[in-house]
């Protein structure tokens, strides 16, 4: 939909990852024995060099090709039955041409030579460029030696759980929900596995390949008793851990979901107003993701929608706040060995003691805003041009214990579990709260539901006045200009001195 690109839509999974242990499962039913995009086993290097050469001869400043293959499984269990098994596989290419800081991007499912040339011609044509067989290659000197981040990951698709084991675990999960819960009208378990092989080649010599594996599982319930209803869910996500699902503590997850449902089933709706809040660690990090993280992407600088433009080395947040975005945490949902432009991932300090230090930048961002690339060029798939996006983003731990934050508030709200959120063109952000408790005289009080927190980025960052010492991460999905990507949010418990709590 056209309006969909107006705002950035994000949702949050719970926990950084599933714990993992050794052990393999049977082979995947749709796995084929082929060499995919591996240049060592295929003619892709020659084909890509020829294609990039054609683009350079046409006068492009830079040509980039992103190839991918994907293999997805989605499984749903409802009550005591597997109700959906959805395998899908895909392949495609995204070709991007730059000329005078403008770019044309074409995506296609047709990976034949003719199909790729047609896409290149279309991208060139957008910039009023045409191929000329006799023209010079410009600065293109061929691709550098392959940086193969996928070499050690060849077997991951086969090592990931097969349908027998994933369906069995989900049914165990819905059974455990039944054992732990009361008044449950609906019990659901779900699992998704996304395998992706990517090959990136660009006329600046970039040549890199990676294999990624994202797994997510979750449990949810709908509890109902008379007019009281509560829907509660928890999802967990991991990256690059093929055997992670095997040691998922599904019993603990079921118990947590049911305990939350039991509490929230009879909770009253929160009274809205301005008040101090404490946001729990892990998925509480959605506040930084929405209120600030998106606005530190060069994509937002290019649009002119970041209130933090031109403020590097200036104070934009409370000195209690240090914030980091990185792609390196082992197993975290937003970790990437390389970004979707072939650049190795890194750790980027965004804010240090309240002072803005860096923006997240991709190739186009560097070209148009001058901010150096940070390995943050990401996209959902070949249908999107890469853009500067977050990876694992979190507020660093502070000196306080979580109880100190709560005890510092006479009357406010403790937000234990967060839902999705978004940020708009003016920097106004919002996110929903799934499970909350009133704070009265420094103590946690009754559970309340139906809260939505809203605010302005520039106003709320200085109000994050206390950070606790219990930093933890949570997995989520983030939707924005380059599609929906895997991310991690995180923080310790934090206190926001005042924010608008929408309620009844």
């Amino acid at each position: 939909m056209p309006g969909a690109s107006r705002a950035l839509f994000c949702s949050v999974l719970h926990n950084q990852s599933l714990t993992h242990s050794g052990g393999l499962v049977a082979s995947h039913p749709t796995e084929r024995q082929d060499h995919g995009l591996d240049p060592a086993q295929t003619a892709w290097q020659q084909r890509l060099e020829a294609l990039l050469g054609e683009g350079c001869r046409a006068g492009a400043d830079l040509v980039e090709v992103f190839l991918e293959r994907t293999d997805h499984i989605g499984v749903l269990a409802e009550q005591d039955t597997i109700t959906s098994v959805s395998p899908a596989f895909a392949m495609g290419a995204g070709i991007r041409v730059f000329s005078n800081q403008r770019d044309g991007f074409v995506s296609t499912n047709d990976l034949s030579d003719a199909g790729l040339l047609r896409a290149l011609d279309q991208a060139l044509g957008m910039l009023n460029l045409e191929r000329h067989a006799a023209a010079s290659l410009g600065s293109f000197e061929g691709l550098r030696p392959l940086r193969d981040f996928g070499l050690e990951k060849q077997g991951w698709l086969v090592q990931a759980p097969d349908l027998s084991s994933s369906t069995a675990l989900l049914l165990q999960g819905t059974d455990l929900l039944q054992r732990h819960g009361q008044h449950l009208d609906v019990r659901r378990g779900s699992y998704s596995r996304d395998w992706q092989e990517v090959l990136v080649a660009a006329s600046d010599g970039t040549f890199a390949r990676d294999i990624r594996l994202h797994q997510s599982s979750g449990l949810s319930v709908l509890a109902a008793d008379g007019q009281h209803r509560a829907s509660i869910g928890r999802r967990y996500g991991s990256t690059d851990r093929p055997d992670d699902l095997k040691t998922w503590d599904v019993d603990a997850s079921a118990a947590e979901v049911c305990a939350s449902a039991a509490t929230m089933l009879y909770a009253d709706y929160v009274d809205g107003g301005q008040m101090p809040v404490v946001l729990a660690n892990r998925f509480g990090g959605v506040i930084f993701h929405e209120a600030c993280g998106h606005l530190l992407e060069t994509t937002q600088l290019e649009r002119g929608t970041s209130p933090f433009a031109g403020m590097v080395d200036q104070t934009i947040a409370n000195p209690a706040v240090t914030a980091i975005d990185e792609g390196l945490s082992a197993g975290a949902f937003g970790s990437i060995a390389m970004d979707d432009e072939g650049m190795e991932s890194q750790r980027t300090v965004l804010i240090e003691n309240g002072v803005l230090k860096r923006f997240l930048s991709d190739r186009a961002g560097e070209m148009r805003t001058g901010h150096q690339r940070t390995g943050s060029g990401r996209r959902q798939n070949h249908g999107f041009a890469a853009a500067s996006r977050m990876r694992n983003t979190y507020i660093a731990a502070g000196p306080h214990r979580p109880e100190e934050l709560i005890s510092s508030i006479d009357r406010g709200l403790y937000c234990k579990s967060m839902g999705g959120g978004s940020v708009g063109a003016t920097g106004q952000f919002n996110f929903s709260v799934e499970e909350a408790y009133l704070i009265e005289n420094g103590q946690l009080g009754q559970a309340v539901k139906g809260a939505t927190l809203i605010g302005e980025a520039k106003e709320v960052m200085p109000r994050i006045s206390m950070c606790a010492d219990d930093l933890d991460l949570a997995a989520g999905y983030c939707g924005s200009v380059s599609g929906s990507i895997f991310v991690t949010v995180g923080q310790p418990h934090i206190k926001v001195d005042s924010i608008t709590v929408g309620g009844r």
């Binding site: 395998p87 895909a90 499912n109 999705g420």
Partner: protein, 461 residues
């Protein structure tokens, strides 16, 4: 398709596809299958202060194959690979997945998959090409920037045109095929005055082709909306008489469409149940149809994912729930015919097409003095609801949503700085005090302005 359509995809060869599937299925011992396929081609431009920002084009194809195994269980696989090897892999993948099919809820072919489909008057439009799109959008942006000195940028903008094709085939011989073209324009401006917060507003237009887009109307509406938010104030928290614009009310209704969704009812996640037909869901003067055939529905298709013909379906009549939206399987469960609202999937989804909200024939609200542009009552006019993905709990009936809008007092409109509206959809539907007489055709449905009393607004004042 017109020969001038530079982005037109190569049409799907239906008989080829069917012959291939037939042959492969025969070899694999598969006797019952169906397939949904699509192919699309699209071009989009975005601009930034007079320059091309990004130009994009895509060619996409996909198929979804369903297979019934010897035990009658169903499996599915989707792919973008329409080559013979891709088709074969999908067919075999679907057969493998059928081992995990749900024996308690087995979908079948729609009994209407070979029934006549409605004629849609949607002539295919030629594509103008990306350079023409770029030129049009540059002019639109310039025009919008020139409408008020406070409008500094149009950070979210896009003009796109495309063509698509969708088919449905099954092993009983059903063949459905439709081709469409569509164009869309969106402009969201950002305005900022000295010492004040930035404000934004926007507009969307859709049409069958780029030449049919009301570009000037989109520019004017985006400018008017943006400027109308420059004078803003915080609002006191409290309960207000609220008027939803057609767009906002359709958004809210769509977010709670599970009330009328047979799949959601069978899954236990709807507030309705199997006995809800005939019960009161809204005030007596409200009626609701789902009409995928409405002339204003640019993306209309004559059949759904299971090949069932699209139709105009009365869902609420005089406030009473009259029908549910159905797929083949849910219809069979309820003993009715499918309604043309199915998607093709391992678990067939059901969803609305195009809502039409109207005043029930022969009824009035009794509060006909209310009008969003002339009423002297104090009320909140909600222009758009935000973050529906996060702030709506459809299975609970509750919502708590940020919104853009105005506090209207004595006819004067003051933009609301930052606020949320919260409530329960059942209370909203039963608390409607007025539907204005003039319905508006939006890009997502048809509705008049809808008035509801006593909704909770939380503001910063």
């Amino acid at each position: 398709m017109s020969g001038t359509n530079s982005t037109a995809p190569q049409a799907l060869n239906v008989s080829d596809l069917r012959d291939q599937l037939d042959g492969m299925a025969h070899r694999e011992g598969i006797h019952k299958w169906d397939l949904g396929a699509s192919r699309s081609s699209n071009a989009t431009v975005q601009v930034d202060r007079g320059e091309a920002k990004q130009l994009k084009a895509s060619q996409r194809s996909s198929i979804t194959v369903r297979v019934w195994n010897a035990a009658g269980l169903v499996g599915i696989t989707s792919t973008t690979d329409l080559s013979p090897s891709g088709l074969e892999r999908a067919l075999i993948g679907a057969r493998d997945a059928s081992q995990f099919g749900n024996a308690n809820d087995i979908p079948g072919f729609s009994p209407l998959a070979m029934a006549p489909t409605p004629e849609l008057n949607r002539p295919l439009q030629p594509a103008l090409g990306i350079q023409k799109l770029l030129s049009t959008l540059k002019h639109a942006e310039k025009d919008l920037l020139g409408q008020h000195q406070a409008i500094e940028t149009v950070p979210y903008n896009g003009l796109s045109e495309g063509s698509s094709e969708r088919i449905y085939l099954n092993s009983d011989g059903a063949v459905r095929q439709v081709q469409r073209t569509q164009a869309s324009l969106y402009l969201y401006a950002r305005a900022e005055e000295m010492g004040r917060k930035p404000r934004s507003g926007g507009a969307i237009r859709v049409a069958l082709g780029s030449e049919g887009l009301d570009v000037q109307g989109c520019v004017d509406e985006a400018a008017q909306r943006t400027m109308s938010h420059l004078n803003y104030q915080p609002i006191d928290t409290g309960r207000y008489l609220v008027c939803f614009t057609p767009e906002a009310f359709l958004d809210l209704l769509g977010a709670f469409s599970s009330l009328m969704n047979a799949r959601a009812i069978l899954d236990g996640v709807s507030l309705s149940d199997a006995d809800s037909i005939g019960s009161r869901l809204a005030v007596p003067f409200l009626s609701l149809h789902d009409n995928g055939l409405h002339p204003g529905h640019v993306g209309a298709a004559p059949f759904d994912g299971e090949g069932t013909p699209t139709q105009r379906l009365r869902l609420i009549h005089n406030g009473l729930l009259e029908s549910f939206l159905h797929s083949e399987a849910t219809a069979r469960h309820f003993g009715v015919e499918p309604t043309g609202h199915a998607g093709l999937g391992a678990k067939v989804s059901v969803g609305p097409d195009w809502f039409e909200v109207s005043t029930s024939e022969g009824t009035t609200s009794g509060t006909t003095h209310l009008h969003h542009s002339s009423s002297l009552d104090t009320f909140v006019l909600i222009e758009s609801l935000n973050a529906l993905h996060a702030g709506v709990k459809a299975s609970q009936g509750s919502f708590s949503l940020p919104f853009d809008g105005w506090l209207v007092r004595d006819g004067e409109k003051i933009s609301v700085e930052s606020a949320t509206v919260a409530g329960d959809i059942r209370q909203v539907l039963s608390g409607i005090v007025h539907l204005e007489p003039d319905a508006k055709v939006t890009h997502q449905g048809v509705s008049p302005h809808v008035w509801v009393d006593g909704l909770a607004i939380t503001g910063e004042a």
